[in-house]
């Protein structure tokens, strides 16, 4: 029986009311979406398949749309460089002259730095691998500041990787699909980055608010910052490596300290994704899992924290070390460690021939103290090895 011939055939529902009901249903669905959203957790699971699919589809489409703009930019650059060649040449020459001075200073500082590292036994972080990517879409609204880069899981990109351009930190990866990754910019309202003021080492949290200059929250210390201070990542929490350049401090119109991002000075279409997950990846996992534990003894092998019973089976290796240990221990390791690092240094630091004669006595030094004691063969050098074992 057709509906119109039924008992409800004469029932007429006003369109305004049905539209209002549809509107309410749509609002309820939108609220449910908003409540279920876990974007602020910045986890891969929270990113979801829908977003991954949209990113994968958007990449080629946005890439095609962005291409004319990119070509136009390149064309404008080419034409302006043609017309301003002379002035640019003058500027570059002046800059080169200034940079030569900096280069000499840099080389001297690098050399000094290497010496200090060797002496102090500093362990520096190994270089972090990177993946280059091109930005194909850029979002700049007050509620979302992200970019879509054209490198994804196939290049080893994972959620949490920091992203830089040639000037400074841009943000970090919050979603990865095949061939595309979503970068949350430092200016996004959900972005929080641990930073420090380079001059004073004062810590702060860089908080985005949708504007071009993120805020410095939780700034600690007495007079920790002044206008123009350089802000770098602190590495606290282990999510971002320490020392990445972020920007310069400025006082905002609202009286709060903000940061003018270095990354804004560079072109926005190319970025480098640091394949850095956390500090655990920098450590040698095999070395951490090793089962051979060091002997449980104090400086004086006669006195063990395990008591006399435990010291008894120590025998052979320790026996040779006991006579010399009490008096000579503080000086002997440094004497043993220094020659170990000394030989490479003269070669790097001593270009003049006069200096070449200087290392000779130092090189001869290890041979003289050795005969006196058989100390270097004792467990002592193993304790000294990390000190000299710089990377």
């Amino acid at each position: 029986m057709p509906f119109r011939e039924g008992p409800l055939g004469d029932l007429k529902v006003p369109l305004t009311w049905t539209a209002a009901v549809a509107l309410i249903v749509a609002i309820v669905i939108a609220v449910a979406f908003l409540l279920a959203d876990r974007r602020e957790t910045l986890q891969q699971q929270a990113y979801g398949v829908t977003r991954q699919t949209v990113d994968t589809v958007s990449k080629p489409v946005s890439g095609v749309i962005a291409a004319p703009g990119r070509w136009t930019g390149l064309g404008v650059d080419f034409i302006s460089s043609y017309f301003f060649t002379a002035s640019e040449n003058r500027r570059l020459k002046a800059e080169l002259k200034e940079m030569r001075g900096y280069r000499d200073m840099y080389l001297a500082e690098v050399d000094k730095n290497q010496s200090y590292r060797s002496l102090l036994g500093l362990r520096t972080d190994p270089p972090i691998p990177m993946a280059g990517a091109r930005v194909v879409a850029d979002t700049r609204g007050p509620f979302a500041n992200t970019r879509l880069a054209d490198a994804g899981s196939e290049k080893g990109v994972v959620v949490g990787n920091p992203v830089m351009n040639e000037r400074g930190l841009v943000g970090r990866v919050v979603g990865v699909a095949r061939g595309a990754s979503r970068v949350l910019l430092l200016t996004d309202i959900a972005s929080r980055t641990p930073v420090m003021i380079d001059r004073t080492n004062a810590r702060a949290i860089l908080t985005g608010d949708g504007g071009p200059n993120p805020k410095l929250d939780y700034l600690r210390g007495v007079d920790p910052i002044k206008e123009g201070d350089r802000v770098v990542t602190s590495g606290d929490g282990g999510v971002v490596p320490r020392g990445l350049p972020v920007g310069a401090a400025v006082k905002g119109l609202d009286g709060r300290w903000r940061v003018v991002l270095f990354a804004d000075d560079a072109a926005i279409d190319y970025v480098r994704i640091l394949l850095f997950k956390d500090f655990a990846q920098l450590a040698d996992q095999k070395a951490l899992l090793t089962r051979s534990l060091p002997p449980v003894t104090t400086e004086d092998p006669d006195v063990s924290i395990l008591g006399p019973a435990a010291t008894a089976p120590k025998p052979a290796a320790q026996a040779g070390a006991t006579p010399t240990a009490p008096g000579a221990t503080p000086t002997a390791p440094t004497a043993a460690a220094n020659p170990a690092v000394a030989p490479p240094k003269p070669a790097a630091t001593a270009p003049p021939p006069a200096a070449a004669s200087a290392p000779r006595p130092t090189a001869a030094k290890p041979t003289t103290p050795k005969p006196t004691t058989p100390k270097p063969t004792t467990p002592r050098p193993t304790a000294a090895q990390p000190a000299g074992g710089e990377i």
């Binding site: 369109l15 305004t16 049905t18 539209a19 209002a20 549809a22 509107l23 249903v25 749509a26 609002i27 669905i29 939108a30 609220v31 449910a32 979406f33 908003l34 409540l35 279920a36 959203d37 974007r39 602020e40 829908t50 977003r51 949209v54 958007s58 489409v61 946005s62 749309i65 962005a66 703009g69 136009t72 930019g73 404008v76 930005v135 194909v136 879409a137 850029d138 979002t139 700049r140 609204g141 007050p142 509620f143 979302a144 992200t146 970019r147 879509l148 919050v174 979603g175 979503r182 949350l184 309202i189 959900a190 908080t207 608010d209 949708g210 504007g211 071009p212 072109a267 926005i268 279409d269």
Partner: protein
């Protein structure tokens, strides 16, 4: 007789929604000219305002919801933020529909600015609740300003379809 036919949803809902999606993708291009980036207007505000004025509809809220979800996913914002904000703006326009129809063009522009302000205020409030942080008022105002400039498109859409369905004359 042509005017007596009901209006096909694809014409007044589908085509404008598709154009909004395209315009959003185009304006997301990473272009910077002399250090300045492209503005980012909310193109979906055009149908959110115009659809409410053309006629009350069951499909329009769902089309707006879909548009809002697309904006959230494409822009990388919280899911549901723009869907909800656009629906609040649509509800405001629908409620004031009888006051708006027949007004002069500058007056309609003012109404459009008002409805856009409602959408932006909703977005501000919802993102504040979602992220537990306050978005920059300057950035919100800038987006409001560039979105308000889209009124001519909304006016064109209203003009084109307001009288298209004789049942709503």
């Amino acid at each position: 007789m042509g005017g007596a036919r009901p209006l096909h949803p694809g014409l007044w809902l589908g085509v404008p929604a598709l154009l909004c999606v395209l315009a959003t993708i185009v304006f997301a291009a990473p272009i910077r000219i002399y250090g300045l980036q492209l503005p980012e207007p909310v193109f979906a505000m055009v149908p959110a305002f115009a659809w409410a004025l053309i006629r009350p509809s069951i499909l329009a809220p769902f089309a707006l919801l879909a548009l809002g979800l697309f904006l959230d996913v494409f822009w990388g914002g919280p899911t549901g933020l723009w869907g909800l904000s656009l629906l609040v703006a649509y509800a405001t326009a629908l409620a004031g529909r009888s006051m708006m129809t027949g007004q002069s063009r500058p007056m309609m522009w003012a109404w459009f600015a008002g409805v856009t302000a409602v959408a932006m205020a909703s977005g501000f409030l919802f993102s504040m609740l979602d992220s537990l942080a306050m978005p920059s008022l300057l950035a919100v105002f800038w987006q409001f300003l560039v979105t308000t400039l889209l009124f001519p498109f909304a006016h064109r859409l209203i003009d084109r379809f307001e009288d298209a369905d004789v049942r709503f004359r």
